[in-house]
Structures are given as C-alpha cells and as structure tokens.
C-alpha cells in the first residue's frame, strides 16, 4: 500500500539534532498532512526526501526500492516533486524556462542538442491552461507576476512531468481565499489521479479538510499519527504543542 516509506530518519546539523528516528509512509492517492511547530523538522524531513539534504541514518524507499543514493535530479525523474515555500523560481526567466528548468526538451541538429523553445512554450501553455491559472503572458519573467501567479508556475513545474509523490510546503500561506480553494481542489484532483501528496501547513483547517492522515512532528519525532476522519482540531493542536490540554487554542484555530 505505502508507496513512499521513510524509516528511522535521523539528522543533525553539527551538535543540533533536528530529526530523531522519524517514520513516515505515503500511499498512492493518499494525502498526508505533516504538521508541527516551527523548528519541529518538517522542512528538513522533506528536503531529505527530495535529496537536498542527506540523512545521517535511516532508509527511504520509493515503490520498494531505496532512493537513498539518488541525487535530487534523479529523485525528480523517479517522480518525487516538491513545491517549496519560497517557490524556488528563477525570477528573471520566463514561465516555460521555469517549468522546464533542468529538464529542457532538446532537438538534435548536426549532432548537437539545442533547447526546443517551441515545444517548451506550447507544453507550458497547456499546463497553465489545465491548472486554470491566469497569467499575463507566458514569455514574461516570472518575477513580474503576483504571488498567486508565481505559485501557479511553481505548481505547474511540479506537475508537468507526471509526478508520483508531490510535496507541498505551505502552498496556501501567501494566497487569497479563492486561490486557497483552488489549491485544495487541486490536491483532491491529484489524489483522484493516484498521486501521493504530502501537505505541510500551519492552516489546520486546510489540513483537516483535505488529508487522509495527519503526521505530527514534535521536536524531531512523530508524536502522533492520526486518521483525519477520526480526529479533531483539539487532538491535532495538542499533539503539536506536546500533549498538554489545549482545548482553548484549538477552539481559537477552529474559529480562525
């Protein structure tokens, strides 16, 4: 069932231990929420999955095969995509260049490979249209776009190459209400297509509404592994802060 499997992931930066033996699984078509306080180790854990960081200990398998020794580029090719909180876009390059960055289609002329700009533009436009995003022009530098439009480009980059696992780090933090809804709809759509999603978010309402399971990280350990349909805001908040009775804070979250 589980497609991506993390076992006993441990990571320290010098003397600072960030992760202490984390286990996490994501199945095909499963949406897993990853929540926790700032500094709980969420982003570090995800960067270990994408290969940006190397774990000190532990194993990662994708569809049963270890990906521990694959480079970030190889992991992308295997179908692990991540949408970063800062979007990680090249702001002076246009939409197509960003979507295809690192995977530009090439055409061979006289034995040399040239980037196929026409194909890039066409496919980028198709992807943007499929996402229903409204961009001023596809050949403009993405730095001239609004936050929501840049988000669309980052999402398009993650979805263009048939991903199997999509990690989203705070995809709704900078968005307006209507845009938040379209991101949540998109997550449901990915689920229907059998794509596994890991959603990192501080907006617990979003997490509760869209996920199947919620993994709570507390000081580098998974402090709770909750099934969303059987859990409440209170359970989640209490697990995030470390077990204390936080009914009042949870009530506040529900209202907010």
């Amino acid at each position: 069932m589980s497609f991506l499997e993390l076992n006993g992931i441990t990571k320290s930066f010098g003397p600072v231990g960030v992760l202490h033996g984390v286990n996490l699984t994501v199945g095909q078509g499963e949406v897993v929420g990853l929540v926790g306080d700032n500094g709980a180790g969420k982003s570090t854990l995800m960067k270990i999955v994408t290969g940006m960081y190397t774990a000190d200990e532990g194993t990662i398998t994708l569809d049963g095969a270890s990906i521990l020794h694959n480079s970030p580029g190889e992991r992308r090719n295997l179908g692990i995509e991540m949408i970063y909180q800062d979007l990680a876009l090249a702001r002076q390059q246009d939409v197509a260049s960003n979507i295809f960055l690192g995977r530009e289609p090439v055409r061979k002329v006289l034995g040399m490979s040239f980037v196929d700009r026409a194909t890039m533009k066409r496919d980028a436009q198709t992807m943007i249209d499929r996402l229903g995003a409204r961009l001023p022009a596809i050949n403009r530098p993405v730095g001239s776009f609004s936050g929501g439009q840049q988000q669309s480009v980052a999402i398009a980059r993650a979805l263009t190459f048939g991903p199997k696992i999509v990690i989203m780090d705070e995809p709704t933090a900078a968005l307006a209400v209507r845009e938040v809804q379209s991101v949540l709809d998109l997550i449901r759509q990915l689920k229907d297509e059998g794509i596994g999603v890991i959603l990192i978010s501080h907006r617990l309402n979003d997490v509760l509404s869209v996920t199947d399971r919620i993994a709570v990280l507390h000081q580098g350990r998974v402090s709770a592994n909750l099934t969303t349909s059987e859990t409440t805001m209170t359970d989640v908040v209490s697990a995030i802060v470390g077990g204390a009775d936080m009914a009042e804070a949870a009530a506040h979250e529900s209202r907010g």
Binding site: G73, N77, Q93, S144
Partner: protein, 328 residues
Amino acid sequence: MPMTDERLWTRVQSFSIDQLHIRIESLIVLILLGALMAFLSPFFLSVSNFMNILLATSTIGVLAIAATFVLSSGGLDLSLGSVLGLSGVVGAAVAVKLNAPMPIAVAATIGAGAAAGLVNGLIITRAFVPAFIVTLGMLGVARGLALVISDGRVIYGLPDAMVYLGQGRPLGIPMPVIIFVVTAVAMHVLLAYTRYGRHTLAIGDSENAARTSGINVDRHRLSLYVLSGALAGLGGLLFATRINSGDPTAGITYELTAITAAIIGGTNLFGGRGSILGTMIGALIMGVLQNGLNLLAVQSYYQQMAIGAVLVFAVFIDQWHVRKESRV
C-alpha cells in the same frame, strides 16, 4: 511618455530580449558613437579602419565572452587579464624554448588558461571562498607566475605557423578577427540555445531554483570557470601571436574592459541575464571608443579614465532599469 509609446517600447524591449538577446539601447549607443566618430575624424569611415577596430576588439571581445558567462551565472572573474598574460607566456615558452610544434603550443596556451580557471573553480566550489577573493588572488598569482616563467622578459620569435594566427590575412581578413567571430557565434549558441546556457542563467538567477530542479550547481560553476580560463587562454593566444611574442605584462586591466563590455551589452552584474550578441555590441562600443580616441590623438591615460567611467555609467543604467521594473 504617453501610454502607447510606453507599450511600444515594452514590446520592442521584449522582442529584443526574446529573439535577439540584445539590448536595444546599447545598439543605439553604438550607432551614435560611430556617427560621432565619423563626424570628428575623416579616417573613421574606412574599411581598413573597421578592420582595425575589429582587430583591436578581438582580444578584449574573447575576454568579454568569458566575463558574460561567469557574470550571468552570478559569479565574477577578475583574473581574466592576468590569465591572458600567463597563457601567452606559457604558449611562447613552449613554442620557443621547447621548440614544440604549433598545435601543441596552441593547446598549451589555451590549456594554461583552462588550468588557471580550474584552480579558480575548485577553490570557489569546494573551499567556498567567494569568487571575488579567489579571482582577485589569481589576478596576482597568474601575473606573478607569468613573470617567473619568462624571468620578467618578453619571449620573442614565435614560429611562423603561430604568428599566422595573429598576423595572417586570408581574403584580407585578419586571422584574430576570424577566430574571434567564430568563437563569438559558437558561444552565443551555447549560452542562448543549449541546456548548458539555460542552466548558466538559471544558476545566476536563483541558485536555489537551479539546485531544487536537480541541476548540479557546483559542477556547473566549476565548468564555467574552466571555460572562462580557456577563453582567457584563447585571448592570450590572439595577443601573443599578433605581437609575435609572449609578454608577461600583457593584458593588465583587460578584465576591467571585458567586464565593462559585458555589462554595457546587458549582462546582469548579479547574474540571471546575459547574451553574447549583446556583449559583442558592448565590446564594439569599447573598441570604437578606443579607436576614436586614438584617431583624435587623445592621450592613452585618458582612455583608461573613459573606460572606468563607462563601466560605472553602464551599471548605473542597469540598476536604474532594475529599480524601474521592480516598482511595477
């Protein structure tokens, strides 16, 4: 400016960036400068003077190509002029003192530049010393090494086959001009139309975006400094073969002119934008400026001042553009 003009201007701009990869202002400056020189000097508008300009631009132009690649990746290479001097001396020593055949001496010249670039790149990507410091250090080390190898003296008397590269004129066109133009076209294609070039710009734009896209940023950076060094070596070859000697003091302050040409041509000082075609226009502006000042018999000390002032002014224009765009 009325709205329609503004829009037309934007379209012209985006067209130039998208299709030709040049900056329209620098082309206008080049034409105006040419017209001014033609007005001031009766000798300016002649075929032989145009060849002179191209010949004088060829060495600087090759260095400016190197500067464009490194700058647009967010890096910096201050050692271009010194590496040019070093590789010219190495090539001359191999040809004259070791009596090596022409192809080996040519390979040694370019190889010496590439080796200096490799050292730069390794220290920058493996030891994490900023490019500014590493290449500033290389500026001193390469110059010193050139003086050590040549014992501080000019190495005269290159073999004829090598001198032909600097002084030959097939069909009346100087060899350095041919080598320069072929190199420029090849490097333009590399930067504008290949994955290598696209990744170079992406790294300069956002190292984070490049890294998360699976690009091996460190390896790419390393290769860029090797390329930069090799091009400086080619500049050394053009210089040495033109004056028929390896001069350890060749190319002093050339990095200043090369970086200026790249920036005038629209290369972003902080990376993410750059094109060889644009840089060639920048290099021609520098060439026409120097040629014109020569024709007008302006003392060469003032030429140094002019180049320095143009560099500051070009960056001012560039920053003015950036600030204007970020306000939109």
